[in-house]
């Protein structure tokens, strides 16, 4: 139960920061916080990755001008594909966070744009511009910034883990 509560807290923090505080800051505006959490949950082998993606998508859809369900669909599919890739191809790779950041952002934009294109073709929603130089630059910046951010946290995390585990081992030796 506690684990599920933590996941819901992460969803709320991720979504609210993504649509408010992060959007006003120069570097952080290009970081997809929800995808960032999603990647870390996959790396931590958390069993609630899909639940996180689904609920985040639902909350994001409440704050979206687009058709309801677009974010749920995009984030849930990204979660499934990230789990599949992690379990089958790159689980032992050191550059897995970078690969995951690249795949997840590219996939997210591909799915959202494909859905918008299909819905506007079926005349369910009005035509929305999905491809321009500015959008392309934004996607590239998001891939770059999120990857840098993820890689930095991953390296710092790995370093701290190594350092603290050394201290723990030394401590246990002293005790012995």
């Amino acid at each position: 139960m506690l684990k599920q509560l933590i996941i819901f807290a992460l969803v709320i923090i991720g979504v609210l920061t993504q649509i408010s505080i992060v959007n006003t800051m120069p570097f952080l505006e290009h970081i997809n916080i929800v995808l960032l959490f999603l990647i870390y949950l996959v790396l931590l082998k958390n069993p609630f990755v899909v639940l996180f993606a689904f609920v985040s998508g639902y909350l994001l859809d409440i704050y979206s001008s687009a058709t309801f369900g677009l974010n749920i669909m995009a984030y849930t599919i990204v979660a499934f594909i990230l789990i599949f890739i992690y379990l089958n191809f790159f689980s032992s790779s050191r550059i897995i966070p970078i690969i995951m950041a690249f795949i997840s952002i590219s996939l997210y934009y591909f799915l959202v744009n494909l859905a918008i294109l299909t819905l506007s073709f079926l005349k369910i929603i009005p035509k929305i511009e999905i491809w321009s130089q500015a959008i392309f630059i934004n996607i590239l910046l998001e891939i770059l910034c999120t990857t840098i951010f993820i890689a930095t946290i991953y390296i710092v995390g790995a370093f701290l883990k190594k350092r603290f585990s050394n201290i723990f081992i030394k401590g246990s030796f002293i005790k012995n």
């Binding site: 800051m25 069993p47 859809d61 001008s65 974010n71 789990i83 511009e129």
Partner: protein
């Protein structure tokens, strides 16, 4: 343990389809509004904090001269608003002199709102507004109503209304378009459209119109809900292509849409 079970996929798809169906039947409106109302104050606070942090970093970077420059820019903005109003009043005065007994006042009926966040769709530039008066009924708000700041600078248009959640397209957004003219003209000379979410591009300007750098671009009032004389920005560059029958003017907006806090929605004028 992290793994993909076929049961998980089936349940996820089933819940997704059920949610779409319930949303179609409008059953989800109440929980959506509840979630929005619960998180709106936190969100507004977060957005405000983000803007303040951003402004702090901007001011840290700026030197004393820059802060003086900011003050002067604010003064210029205020003077431009006054100038626009005087020119419009002058024009009105002329008309009034012609049509005796006819009076028309350019005072707006507005509703105050605040920006509480951005559209969650990543490549969208829309902003989410919330009406400050919690008892206000949003039924009398319509699509395409203009959103202004500082008593006359146009910053966007309403493009979607979901009960208490209002989506605004900034004037710099690619989907935004407004009939415009330069200050002093009485007719529309072009269409001001958003350019890469940063600037405004005014197209469809006939070759006969002579626009100079630094001139003030305002709304022409051609559209239904759009009053005449709302400031858009200043002309930074004019492109004259001999092959094209129209000129293009690039307009620098007077307000940074990323720093928006309090705004006013013009209901009637």
């Amino acid at each position: 343990m992290l793994q993909i079970k076929s049961k998980t996929i089936i349940i996820t798809v089933a819940v997704f389809v059920l949610l779409i169906f319930l949303n179609f039947l409008k059953v989800l409106e109440t929980p959506k509004q509840m979630i929005f109302s619960i998180f709106a104050p936190i969100q507004a606070q977060l957005y405000d904090t983000g803007s303040k942090i951003s402004k702090y970093f901007d001011s840290e970077r700026a030197t004393a001269n820059n802060s003086e420059l900011e003050l002067l820019k604010a003064q210029v903005r205020s003077l431009l608003i006054q100038n626009a109003k005087f020119k419009i009043l002058g024009e009105e005065n002329k008309i009034l002199k012609k049509e005796l007994g006819f009076t028309k006042e350019h005072s707006f009926t507005t509703v105050s709102a605040r920006v509480i966040g951005a559209d969650s769709l990543r490549n969208s530039t829309l902003l989410i507004l919330q009406i400050e008066d919690i008892n206000y009924n949003t039924d009398d708000l319509k699509l395409d109503m203009p959103v202004i700041v500082e008593d006359g600078i146009l910053v966007g248009k309403i493009i979607k209304i979901n009960e208490r959640e209002i989506f605004m397209a900034p004037i710099t957004a690619s989907r935004s378009a407004v009939a415009a003219t330069v200050l002093g003209n009485n007719y529309t000379i072009g269409v001001a459209e958003g350019e890469s979410s940063l600037a405004i591009k005014m197209g469809m300007i006939p070759k006969t119109e002579k626009i100079k750098q630094g001139e003030l671009v305002v709304t022409s009032g051609l559209e239904e809900n759009m009053p005449k004389g709302l400031l858009l920005g200043t002309v930074s560059r004019v492109d004259q292509d001999p092959q094209s029958p129209f000129n293009i003017a690039y307009v620098t907006p007077l307000y940074d849409v990323k720093r928006l806090g309090e705004v006013l929605i013009i209901k009637s004028y």
